[in-house]
């Protein structure tokens, strides 16, 4: 039964790889809504670096893992920006799929499948009754 899902999973993964591997290079590099809100009170230059004033963003400290080989969505050692961003995106998608999929697979409910949702048993009983009623007369007429 779960075999039918593989085409969808592969297709979805392909779309994600394409978005992270190629389209990501056309993303806006401006600070996001939160970062820009924290820049209020400061002046910034064309590269969005603080040039003066006083604002909450000045309290920001370096990331603990700023030296990680994939820090800031680039692969260290690759000079070509397009390739570096794209490759980091591809690795991130594969890593997230492996980690997420792996953890969810380990945590999954085993044993015979039951209808989704905690209301499963109630719904089955409720919907089973009319089905029986409908089935009985039809067999009777025959």
């Amino acid at each position: 039964m779960s075999k039918r899902h593989w085409p969808f999973l592969l297709g979805g993964l392909l779309v994600a790889l394409l978005l992270a591997g190629v389209v990501s290079n056309y993303a806006s590099s401006h600070p996001d809504g939160l970062d820009s809100s924290l820049l209020k009170g400061c002046t910034v230059n064309a590269d969005d670096e603080i040039t003066g004033g006083s604002c909450p963003a000045q309290q920001a400290k370096d990331h603990e893992l700023a030296d990680s080989p994939l820090a800031d969505y680039g692969v260290r050692g690759i000079g070509n920006d397009f390739l570096s961003t794209g490759l980091s995106g591809v690795l991130g998608v594969l890593l997230t799929f492996a980690l997420g999929g792996g953890l969810f697979w380990l945590a999954r409910r085993r044993g015979p499948a039951t209808p989704a949702g905690p209301a499963g048993p109630d719904t089955t009983t409720a919907s089973a009754d009319p089905a029986d009623d409908a089935a009985t007369p039809s067999t009777g007429t025959r």
Binding site: M1, S2, H5, F8, L9, G12, L13, V15, A16, L19, A20, S24, A27, S28, S29, H30, P31, D32, G33, L34, S36, S37, L38, K40, V44, P56, Q58, Q59, A60, K61, D62, H63, E64, L65, A66, S68, L70, A71, D72, G89, G92, V93, L95, T96, F97, L99, G100, G101, G102, F104, W105, A107, R108, R109, A113, A116, G117, P118, A119, T123
Partner: protein, 234 residues
């Protein structure tokens, strides 16, 4: 919308880390009821897709400001609220530990805003809207758009609350200024979030409607016990 190190003080960050950990454990407990052989790989795909789309910062109408998908509404629609929150959390953990995006010390704050608050707000609205709107692609699109938009604004106000509790800069009592700036920017980002979420969910519903959790779990006339909103509306 990832908080960088140094923006919120250590004690408040630690409290939210403990809070987020407890909430995620609860999500695992509740989510296991949904997680079967079929949903588990789908949830992995949802996490990977959210990671990809979070890289795609789009410009908003305000000059020099961008935004990106948070994904809570998308995850809640596709794999349900409990597993959905876990999907977004997995993305945030990978981003913090591997890509240097969002401080590791700030992870609890970021998970609280984007994975927990965002997904919870989205699912409450999804549960309500899917019952009152017609079961058409348009009804699903409106549900996805509205829940996604609101979830982003709610997540942004989660940050304002955290900043009120432990922001490292004294705003001189001008917290409402920050709240307003955050809300306005994220209202615009929410439009992008809504468009992406609606497009994605309507596409999946067209190809494989059985893979959309919200359409499976939320039958039109059946009140779901897990959602108090439905009971209140009656």
């Amino acid at each position: 919308m990832h908080i960088s190190n140094g923006i919120i003080n250590g004690p408040v960050a630690a409290i939210f880390a403990a809070l987020a950990l407890a909430a995620l454990a609860f999500c695992v407990l509740r989510g296991r009821a949904d997680l079967d052989d079929r949903l588990a790989p789908m949830a992995g795909l949802v996490a990977a897709f959210i990671f990809a789309v979070q890289m795609l910062n789009f410009p908003i109408f305000t000059a020099g400001v961008s935004g990106h998908l948070l994904g809570g509404a998308l995850a809640a629609l596709l794999v349900g609220p409990w597993v959905g929150a876990l999907c977004v959390a997995v993305v945030l953990i990978v981003q913090a530990l591997v890509f240097g995006d969002g401080g590791v010390a700030m992870l609890g704050l970021n998970i609280t805003n984007m994975a927990l608050l965002g997904t919870a707000a989205a699912y409450l609205l999804i549960a309500l809207l899917l019952r009152v709107l017609p079961r058409t692609p348009a009804g699903l699109a409106v549900t996805a758009f509205v829940s996604a938009l609101v979830s982003v604004v709610v997540a942004s106000q989660g940050f304002v609350l955290q900043y009120w509790l432990g922001g490292t800069t004294d705003l001189g009592g001008n917290l409402t200024g920050l709240a307003g700036t955050m809300a306005f920017a994220h209202l615009l980002i929410g439009i992008g979030e809504g468009l992406i979420t609606a497009t994605t969910v309507v596409t999946v519903a067209k190809v494989r409607p059985d893979l959309v959790y919200a359409l499976r779990a939320l039958k039109p006339a059946t009140p779901a016990p897990a959602v108090p909103v439905a009971g209140g509306a009656r």
